[in-house]
Each structure stands twice: as structure tokens, then as C-alpha cells.
């Protein structure tokens, strides 16, 4: 048989879905508002999947596909780590691992005026917020939060940045705190910035701590929480 004999959308929730799978039949749900997140599209009367991943649902009406990729799809409100590629008159061009370069307006800084435009060199690492991300347009960034304060956004000096997948970034940012960070944080002092686009920045007093933290995070990506704790403990033992 070609299809699973099921008629309820809930049967696909938290299941692996593939491009082409039909997850919702809109003709059965009249007068309901549904919010579609990433990975889903409307194809006439049905909602079908665009990307492979796990289908998620959050009440009251939001559906999306969670997948872990090396590239990032910009969406408004995300905090990402970008690298300055070029500086124009009005914007900085910043690479955020998306389909297009993003623009960071020169005035999007706390207390920013034409007289005190920051000078970022090519290659500067920035912690920024995605303000707008529409299809077909370059995303727009800002170094201020929604209320206009600087709030930790801006260039990240020193430290070490490494790239991994968007899934790892979400795990590191999950609450309660991810086991790796918790176990590392009990013994070591370090600073970390996680971008939802798969970039992570670590800084500490000594390079060996930075290397240890970075390697631990990268190596424990695919382990379960219990295994992560064990692995982290063993890596820290070796350091002494």
C-alpha cells in the first residue's frame, strides 16, 4: 500500500517525516487557524512536508518540522553569530550561514548616530539579532534588542568560534540547561555565546579551557543526556 491508513494529523506528531508526506487535510478543518513553522507548506487543500525531520506541534495550533542542518534559514527574532564580510555606506554585509548575506544597518547600535559609526573589519564576529527575514529579501539584523538597549549584542573579542549544526545550537540553548554545559560549568569558568545558525563562541582565561570546552561540545553532540554527562566527566579527568 502506498500510504499509512490514518486520518488524524496527530499520528504524525513527533514522528520522522519526509518531503512529500501529507500531514494535514485542510478540508476537514474548517474555520480553524493554523500556524505553520519551518519545513511545512500549503499545497492546495493539504499541508505537506518540505524538509525531512521530526514533526512538532505546540498548542494551540502551531506545527513545524524540526531538523538539524549545517545551513541556517533566517527567521525573525533569532540570535545569531555573524561574520562581517563587507562594509557599505548604510549597512554592514554579514554572513549568517543563510541563503543570502544579511544587512546590519550602520545605525542599529545603542546610541548610534552618523558620527559614531563602529568600524568593523572584515572577519569580525558579531552577536546580533535577526529583525526581519522575508523570502527573497536579504535578512536585516540589529545589535540592539527590541527595546533599543545594547544587551550583550555586538562584536565578540578574543575567544574561539566553531561551527556545527543548528540542532546542536538548539540543544545548547534548551532549558533546563543542557547536561554538557551544566557539568562543564561546575568545574570550569568560561563564557559562551550560541548562535541559532550553528555557530558557537567560547572564551575563557586560558586556551586549554577553551579547547576543552569546544571539543567537549562537539564530541557530545550525538550522545544522550546520560552519556553526555559521563563523557564530559571523563574528558575533564584527563585534563587534570
Amino acid at each position: 500500500m502506498e500510504s499509512k491508513p490514518s486520518t488524524t494529523p496527530s499520528s504524525f506528531i513527533d514522528q520522522q517525516v519526509f518531503p512529500g508526506d501529507v500531514v494535514l487535510d485542510l478540508s476537514k478543518m474548517a474555520n480553524q487557524t493554523i500556524k505553520l513553522g519551518g519545513g511545512l507548506r500549503q499545497d492546495g487543500d493539504v499541508i505537506s512536508v518540505m524538509k525531512a525531520g521530526k514533526l512538532r506541534f505546540s498548542k494551540p495550533n502551531k506545527y513545524w518540522v524540526e531538523s538539524s542542518n549545517k545551513r541556517y534559514v533566517p527567521s525573525a527574532g533569532d540570535n545569531v553569530l555573524g561574520i562581517v564580510v563587507d562594509a557599505k555606506a548604510d549597512n554592514f554585509l554579514v554572513d549568517i550561514k543563510g541563503p543570502t548575506l544579511a544587512f546590519l544597518p550602520v545605525l542599529a547600535f545603542e546610541g548610534g548616530t552618523r558620527r559614531n559609526i563602529p568600524k568593523f573589519e572584515m572577519g569580525t564576529l558579531l552577536y546580533v539579532r535577526v529583525v526581519k527575514a522575508n523570502t527573497g529579501m536579504n535578512p536585516e539584523l540589529s545589535c540592539m534588542d527590541a527595546s533599543g538597549k545594547a544587551a550583550e549584542y555586538g562584536p565578540l573579542k578574543e575567544g574561539f568560534m566553531f561551527e556545527s549544526s543548528t540542532g546542536l545550537s538548539r540543544t545548547l540553548l534548551s532549558s533546563p540547561t543542557c547536561p554538557v554545559l551544566e557539568t562543564l560549568g561546575k568545574k570550569l569558568a568560561f563564557e559562551i555565546a550560541v548562535g541559532l545558525n550553528g555557530r558557537v563562541w567560547v572564551n575563557a582565561a586560558s586556551p586549554s579551557i577553551v579547547v576543552l570546552v569546544a571539543n567537549t561540545i562537539m564530541k557530545t553532540e550525538s550522545l544522550s543526556p546520560v552519556q553526555q554527562k559521563i563523557k564530559v566527566e571523563s574528558l575533564m579527568q584527563r585534563m587534570r
Binding site: 520522522q16 518531503p19 478540508s27 541563503p99 543570502t100 550525538s222
Partner: protein, 262 residues
Amino acid sequence: MDLEREGGRGANQLRPIDCSRNVLSRAHGSASCSHGETRVLAAVYGPKAGTKKNENPEKACIEVIWKPKSGQIGKPEKEFEMILKRTLQNICLLNVHPNTTTSIIVQVVHDDGSLLPCAIHAACAALIDAGIPLKYLAVSISCCLTESGKILLDPNKLEEQKMKAFVCLAFPSSVHSTLMERFDKTIWHKLIHSNNKGGMVEEIGKAVEVSGFINGRIPHDFPEGVYIRNVKNGNSMREKVSNLYRPVLKANGVLMFWFAGW
């Protein structure tokens, strides 16, 4: 059909298929697929900003680079590139990221017949690994007509060289769907691509009537005859090959999956 095939394969039997993804650390998406001895590696980079000169900037552009196992790049490679590009353009959603280019590099690791289906499967798996938005997945099969008039599926290199005619077909893969009753079956008989060499026009007899429901760009009816005579209905073959993708893509890392015949 008591034809002697290498390894005792039946005329309808496929070689074991094995597929693994995320095999290259630097590519945005990668997959390696093998049909028996034929092995193809595909890497996807993208979407990246900008399209090529003659392409429509309102849509995403797909670029395929075919790398043979050895030798210089010539006309046969360009032909494969063009075939793969058209097949993948059919399955990709091109308006999600307009004005971007996605590059797919296909490297032939070993060619033991049935190269194009293997490449289509590898490219498809690599696109999924990279997270490129797709309409559906593609499955592909090749079959050949031998001197003695027998039809064989998934020929290896020796069989391909001795054959009279050859055809390669690609279809949308079967999907899981919540709508069972209203399922519009005609979609899944769509042919994405057919590529054939040679054809015995005289042999078309009874096959013609049955091929009515298929729509797609088929030059003449010969491929239809091959397809229908050996397979109960197109669905069973497509379903089996589609089952290939699901277990592979469930794993986070590399997973080997074996599938043999039916």
C-alpha cells in the same frame, strides 16, 4: 524467465541498495549510494546567494557537476549533468529561496551498470541531508532488453553492454499521508524522467493499451511495455525503493541499510 544472471538474480530482482548520508564533513549535505557494485557519492552546497547569468532570478537555480571516475570531462558527462539537473529541478521547490544557487556535485566511485538511478538516489539523499526544500523524493530504476528478447531490471555493466535497448525511469517516491480516502492516485503515476537508448517499435503490441494512465514525457511506448510487463503495478516497485530512504534518514549519523529484491 530462466535467464542466467550473475549471482543468480531473477530478471525482476534488484541488487542490494545501500545508502548513507552525512559522509563528507565540509559539504552542506552529502550522501553515498550504491546499487550492488555501482557506487556514487553526491555532495550538495547551498543555497548560496546569486544565480547564474541566464537563469531566472525569481527561482532558485540548481547546478549539477558530474565527475566521472577517471578521464576528462566530455559530452557524456554533460548529458548526465543535464539529465540530473532536469530531474532534480522537478523535485525541488524553487520558489522558497529565490535568487540562490544550489550546487550538486556527483562523483562516480565505481560504475557497474545502472549508474543514473544510483546517481539520482545519491543526489536526492544529499539534498535531504542539506535541508533543501523538496516537493517529494525521487526513485529511479533502469531496465534493459537483451538480445534474446528478455527484459532485465537493474542491469550490471556486462548486461548493459550486451543489451539491445535500455531505459531509465524516475518517479516521485511514495509518501505517508493522512488523507487515505481522497488519495489522488494519479499523481503517483507521474514520470519525472525517462531516458532510453534503442527501441523495438515492432514489439509494441498489447502493452499500448495498459499505458493509458501514465502522463509524462515518454518519446514512444517502449518504456511502458518494459515497465508494466515486469512489475505488477508501478506502485509496488516504487514503494519498495522508497522504503530505502526512511531508515537511512532516521539516523542522526551514518546508517547502513540493506534492501534486496522483492
